[in-house]
Amino acid sequence: MTAPAAGQFCLRLLRRQLLLAVRRPVEIGNPLLFFAMVVALFPLGLGPAPGTLAGFASGVLWITALLSNLLTSDAVFRSDFEDGSLEQLLLAPQPLFLSVLAYIGAHWLTTGLLLALVSPVFALMLNLSTAALGALVASLLIGTALLSLIGGIGASLTVGLKRGGMLISLLILPLYMPVLIFGSAAVQAAVSGLPAGPYLAILGAMLCLAIALAPLAMAAGLRISIDA
């Protein structure tokens, strides 16, 4: 029986990851709960006045989405590393950088996508003007995919380390900053009535670059972590 083609193998991996995620539905809720709680912190910290909150809303929503993505990025490869499946993945004949895309795709579907769809609720809580909701969801859809890809690089480098949790944030937060800049800029543009298109276009360009280059770095990172 010949080994499945790379694309088919990727789809099989994606189904496997989604099946694993569905087996623990509560864990899918964790990033969303984190998002809700941190968004609720800001009115407590900055005062409930709708005016001030509206001013901060785009930044707060984006920073919270970024942090919840960071939290879940660490676990993308860790469970497979612990029970030895990651070693088998490295030995698979299919190209590793495509298989890794399946892991990141599953991670995005279970965290980023849901976050983007849920974010309008929290935007209204922070009194974000309704005109900006569309831009918010669009920028989060593209942005969280980008964050998952970059987070995957950090995860692949720290998967072998016992105390990799804190380290991953130091490694990849600097790489998250351009995404935050253009993501919240898109929402702010929509708030002040300007077109959010150009910022979303730049986010899209970054996403394409990340889809092309991040898997290579992740594959190299995994091979190094497994070899250590």
Partner: protein
């Protein structure tokens, strides 16, 4: 592989050549640093608008320039060690990280101090200073990742990957911070713009930039020599070197 590239790979040869370069480069660098600093501090005219506080430019701009160049040196050394598996390239990358971080710290510290008389606040979110801060985090990330691995061979490979990822991201970070700065601040003056200073102030600046590049090279070579000794501590030539270690 042409011989010079191959020779670069052998530790004792590299250790010796680094030592001989340092013997003449280090004194010259220190001399250039002193003359440049004294020239910039005491002999040039104060700037029309900022007065004497602009004299900090003679250490802020060179440090910033070399800090950025240092990251590229580190990333390229990492690439060479990953692609051609040269141990000495690992040593160069490992040695470059702390030196680059130190230069970035100098640039940040002097930039912050310069902000006080010019803008009235200790920390100003100017585009260049913010990019420099992110570069500092990138350096710390590489140093922290290296320390997190027990197996130092894997550590340097992982750091090579991280510094390459960082190198790809630096232009993106710098452009997006510039865009962010223009987006939010509008066209306020950029106090680190080089164009406005006239020629009498430019010469000491060029001298200091050259001196800082030479200083980076010296520190890199110094750190590499120590790193080579530690990594090759079980080889014969290091033992021989250690036994007649009477000389400095």
């Amino acid at each position: 592989m042409w011989p010079i590239f191959h020779k670069l790979g052998s530790p004792p040869w590299l250790y010796a050549i680094a030592g001989s370069i340092l013997r003449w480069l280090l004194p010259i660098t220190l001399l250039a640093l002193v003359t440049g600093a004294v020239w910039g501090l005491l002999f040039t005219q104060p700037e029309r608008i900022q007065g004497n506080s602009y004299r900090i430019i003679y250490i802020h701009v060179p440090a910033a320039v070399v800090a950025l160049a240092g990251y590229y040196v580190m990333a390229l050394a990492g690439a060479v060690s990953l692609i051609w598996r040269m141990k000495m390239a690992d040593v160069a990358m490992k040695a470059a990280a702390p030196v680059g971080a130190a230069f970035t710290f100098i640039a940040l510290f002097t930039g912050a101090i310069w902000g006080k008389p010019t803008w009235g606040t200790w920390w100003v979110w100017d585009a260049r200073i913010t990019s420099m801060l992110i570069l500092f985090f990138l350096y710390l990330g590489v140093v922290a990742l290296y320390e997190a691995f027990d197996n130092k061979e894997a550590a340097s490979k992982a750091c090579a990957v991280l510094s390459l990822v960082g190198m790809v991201n630096i232009p993106i970070i710098y452009k997006s911070v510039d865009w962010w700065y223009a987006l939010h601040q509008g066209a306020t003056i950029k106090f680190t713009g080089e164009s406005s200073i006239d020629s009498s102030m430019m010469y000491p600046l060029l001298l200091m930039i050259g001196a800082f590049y030479a200083l980076f090279t010296c520190c890199l070579l110094l750190n590499m020599r120590v790193e080579i000794l530690q990594r090759e501590s079980r080889t014969q030539w290091v033992k021989k070197l250690a036994t007649k270690a009477g000389r400095p």
